[in-house]
Symmetry: C2
């Protein structure tokens, strides 16, 4: 399976069109605009709503609907052009898969997301799953903590835990 790491925009679009054609799907303005927006804001992790609002604002003539954004994001994820991060109750955030695999570190106070990549952990995950007879297909790893800035600015409130 090919991947889309470090892909330029033109190449990304061509790749996308090929996938669509291969699966008898259509290349619409809405899909193009969503992909473009994600590409141009490559460091952001978009919730469906924030992506909806941004495309709505930048391309008002399209009058894009939230359902279309959801459908497109699911399509991009199905065809491995995007991946999603799960944020519990507050839903998912999406990012393009056009950079090398990485995991996320999330500040519990300001929600800042830092990406990192670590071969030692990746390798170890393979070893562990193999030990249990699993065939590893993917993983979810999110480290939660307090970023440098927030450590200085605030004390995390304590609920009076015993």
């Amino acid at each position: 399976m090919s991947n889309i790491e470090n892909m330029e925009y033109d190449t990304l679009i061509i790749k996308f069109k090929n996938i669509l054609k291969y699966n008898n799907l259509k290349f619409t303005k809405q899909r193009e605009v969503i992909l473009k927006t994600m590409y141009c804001n490559n460091n952001e992790h978009f919730s469906p709503i924030s992506l909806y609002e941004l495309t709505k604002k930048n391309y008002p003539e399209l009058n894009i609907g939230i359902a279309t954004v959801y459908k497109t994001l699911n399509l991009l994820e199905d065809y491995m052009i995007a991946t999603s991060l799960s944020f519990g109750l507050s839903g998912k955030k999406f990012e393009l898969r056009n950079k090398p695999h990485h995991d996320h570190m999330i500040c519990k106070i300001c929600d800042k997301i830092v990406e990192f990549e670590d071969d030692i952990i990746e390798k170890r995950q393979e070893e562990i799953t193999a030990k249990y007879g699993f065939k590893l297909t993917n993983h979810l790893m999110q480290l939660y903590g307090v970023c440098e800035k927030c450590q200085k600015n605030s004390k995390h409130q304590n609920k009076g835990k015993f």
Copy 2:
């Protein structure tokens, strides 16, 4: 902060009562029964609904409500007696924190959950967060794959990805 690893049931109840008292909360039959059910099925990871159904069935005289189960689970999580696993769209599953820290390996086909613990990864996570100035408080690591049994029984369907 003390922890509740390997705690016997009586000790767990005492601990729970102390936490409640300290925070001006009350020890009710509903809370007792929910904790007991989780303790007695220590290998299960309960969704709020499955826990609701089980307690409803075993203690019909209490006529427990789903809202109470949710509130109790949130309370247990707030006071670090339980933790939750996130399962994307299908909600959360809860388990007591009465065993050593571990992570989860989940079969994408049969949903089987295997617990594992790995010092190398834990240690590495500390190193990584430290490198970025984060203070690590907790993490989420779930490895997804196909378990031994399902590898034999089935081929994972392919969506015709390009």
